[in-house]
Amino acid sequence: MIVCVAVVGHQNNPLYIQSFTDADDALKLHHIVHCSLDVIEERVNNPKKSGTTLNEAFLGLLYPTLNYKVYGYLTNTKVKFILVTTDLDVRDTDVRTFFRKFHAAYVDAVSNPFHVPGKRITSRNFAQTVSNIVGSYGLN
């Protein structure tokens, strides 16, 4: 199951982070998100090593930890999406679909004229949509 999703800006500034698990784990998950930013940087600067198609937004599995799998996505506008899951068996298509929906929700959130670029996303609609996307992850 998905335990954490995050949106990080191009200056590695956190724009949105939501855990779907107990509060105790939240700190650990924030740490995982933070570490994944380095991995993304490496991936983007050394595309041949990673194996993903050059310049594709979906970065694939960033790194597995003992209990989690961390996936990354980098938009053209230098915004990173991070997904942390406890699933052992993760289907590529499910994660890609997740990021596609998540990206669309993100675009709507930053299209709010009252959103300040570079500042945290405070949209209630976004939070609701993200919960829905997480809830429907892996179904059909």
Binding site: D108, S111, P113, F114
Partner: protein, 186 residues
Amino acid sequence: MAPVGPRSGDAIFSSIDRVNAELFTLTYGAIVRQLLTDLEEVEEVNKQLDQMGYNIGIRLIDEFLAKSGVSRCVDFKETAEMIAKVGFKMFLGVTASVTSWDADGTCCSIVLEDNPLVDFVELPDTCQGLYYCNVLSGVIRGALEMVSMKTEVTWTRDVLRGDDAYELQVKLLKQIAEEYPYKDDE
């Protein structure tokens, strides 16, 4: 060739030049944001949005009359229906409905459920008192003034303020009879 009669909003909308709504929505949003930064007072912004709408309304009316084939001399009831069914449709691509007529037929409500102006918009708590869509009230007021109807347009429902629809009350204050350009010599 004389126009056959009033055209439907759908027909007109399909025949005119259209653009992606997001250009419109985002531009309006950016204008509102900039106004809030420059004017600071929410009431001032409401006023400017209304003024903006008024100036737009007095321009759009010509296009409305030309494309819809409607004759100028209509009564207020018919006018309200035209605004809701043809006006909103041919410009914003959405239909509105007319409700709550008073006994005189001089006051009604125009209700909009779908509103392209507010796509993606979420008002922050710091904008209490802002009528985000106030441009619309100005547009209606301006357009109607050009067809000799002086009206008062006020918001009674606003989704961004927690209601379930957008509702504008349109009250006819004065209908000015058309004046003839030439006076009889006395």
